[in-house]
Amino acid sequence: MSSVIWYLYEFARKSWAEKFTAAKTDSEIMEVPSRFRDFPEVRKEYCIACGACTAACPAPMAIKLVRTSDSAHEDGITYPVINNRGCIRCGFCAEVCPTDPKTLLCGENHLIREEFTILPVDKMFVIDDYLCIRCKKCLKACSEVAGAISEVDKKMVIDQSKCIGCGECIKNCPVKGAVKGIYINNVEEQKEIINMVVDTLEARIEADQDKIKKLAPEEVYKIDYPIDDLVKKAREIIPNDELIRDSIEKITDRLKMRILTWDDEKCTNCRLCTSECPSGAITYDKEKGVQRNPDKCLKCSICYQTCPFGVAGLYVARFLLSDTSLKDGVIQITLKPSQLPIRS
């Protein structure tokens, strides 16, 4: 009650007395400042259906591209539709809209310069139809995000114009490697890296040929290859560690390298293989006997299956780049004799 006194000073002021007698809600509450960002305004006629707005929108169900049906005279137009129940009024769609004049207007359009425009993806996602088991988990994951994956002719297909590169499909895919994220840029360099890695690994294994030949049918031969070596070489091709790691990981993941050994001592020059070899890598010479040219060899294993004397040996090398192996900085190579039956 005594705090009343502290208020008397306040109450004695003119502005307070005015408020006391004439308190009311002003019409100014309805005014919005000029920079206020309301829901985006869509001007259909300018839309080029690039999908930048849908790709950029951070809210999942705020923007949708729709297409009106074609009439007799002209094609239907495509334009974005804003769903007010999802739109968070950030104005990002207006910012990324590339048309001039803008299709989407939202408050004061911010500084939009060429260098700030967005490429939301730097990875392209593709579905490997061969590995795909059509579980549709990616479809489900994608339809909530971008709706880029659809089913065409019973195959899962990613629509690249809609893909925003979130990688949800990869996360949800139960099959390793069925969905691939491919770096769009530096394709040539990537190829080089792949070739380089495969070549080096192959060379490394073939250097141990003598030991491999002695392997018993169920025996496993292991080699550790230091990864730094590969990375160092790859860095000369392109200095992007992220990309290099990604490439090496992908290579070692799926690569099943066939190693073909050739034991000249066992050869009886029966020449069964020469006619079978599809690439002509095995030749017969009267002086030198049966010769194999490793450069031409496709490692198709036909010679291995044909030879009754076991001259050709086929081994399968697998590569492992696990966390433990990474700690040691090595790629683990595992070599096993092939289990392919030998034709008799």
Partner: protein
């Protein structure tokens, strides 16, 4: 006019005027807060609204009491109207009714089974100490006037001048009592603190809440009526109205500028004021 009609009439006037005074209280608080505030009849509209809302009895309610308490609350304040404006009976009965009101607060809190109601009940018990001044006021008035009858008190004031001036400290004690019954943000009304959601009436809603709100409006009217009658004397209806508006405005000014005291402080404040009031009044009566 027969008695029944008279009672009904007075109760109706008490309810309507009480509600409008509560609305006025809210309006003045709102204006002090520099905003337009609700219409004056808002409290009345709230009361009416609860009558047309669904009434559900919670599972936890202690059944006979849960409903009976609203009936008791209603009836004691109707009784107060009968003793007060209708028949101008004894002051003693009015104070007895006020004491019953306290019991009703306990029971309304505890019968609902809600933890908030229970705590409100605890607070009601707690603040019962603050009822001491009530009886002190009674005693002081008796000492001063030598009667307990309202009509006699009015007559006494007619000849000797308003009691407000002869025993101001008793008037102050009674005013504190009124203050503690104010509906909106009263510093002493700890049973209705928002930390207990709606205090003892948390689980009373629908029709029951409507009756509680009616009783509260009548209670407010009656408290103001008693204050004006006992301390200012018999007034004309316009006088009563003006007096009630003035007291309501004063109370709402105090409500607006004080936070709710915590229960300990609230009780201590009331006890301290009571002590000052009693000692001061006795001294004034005997030595002035």
């Amino acid at each position: 006019m027969n008695l029944m009609a008279n009672i009904l009439l007075n109760v109706l006037v008490a309810f309507l005027v009480g509600s409008v005074l509560f609305g006025l209280q809210r309006k003045i608080i709102a204006r002090i807060q520099m905003r337009p505030g609700p219409p004056i009849i808002q409290h009345l509209l709230h009361t009416l609204k609860f009558f047309i809302k669904e009434t559900v009895i919670p599972k936890t309610a202690a059944m006979p009491f849960y409903i009976a308490i609203t009936v008791i609350l209603c009836s004691i304040w109707v009784a107060a109207v009968i003793v007060g404006p209708v028949s101008e009976g004894s002051l003693l009965i009015l104070f007895a009714i006020f004491a019953i009101h306290k019991i009703v607060e306990h029971n309304a809190g505890s019968s609902s089974g809600s933890p908030y109601g229970k705590l409100s009940c605890v607070r009601a018990v707690f603040s019962a100490a603050a009822e001491v001044p009530l009886f002190a006021v009674l005693l002081i008035i008796y000492l001063q006037t030598g009667t307990m009858n309202l009509a006699d008190i009015i007559a006494y004031q007619g000849t000797n001048g308003a009691l407000l001036f002869s025993i101001p400290l008793a008037a102050m004690m009674f005013f504190v009592l009124i203050l503690s019954k104010a509906y909106y943000y009263s510093p002493l009304n700890i049973t209705m603190g928002k930390d207990l959601v709606s205090g003892f009436e948390t689980e009373h809603f629908g029709m029951l809440r409507g009756f509680i709100m009616i009783s509260e409006s009548i209670a407010w009217y009656m408290l103001l009526w008693i204050f004006l009658t006992v301390f200012v004397g018999g007034l004309t209806p316009i006088g009563y109205l003006a007096g009630m508006i003035i007291i309501t405005a004063l109370v709402s000014l105090i409500d607006a500028v004080t936070p709710i005291l915590n229960p300990n402080h609230s009780v201590m404040t009331q006890v301290t004021l009571a002590f000052v009031g009693i000692v001061g009044s006795v001294l004034m009566i005997f030595y002035l």
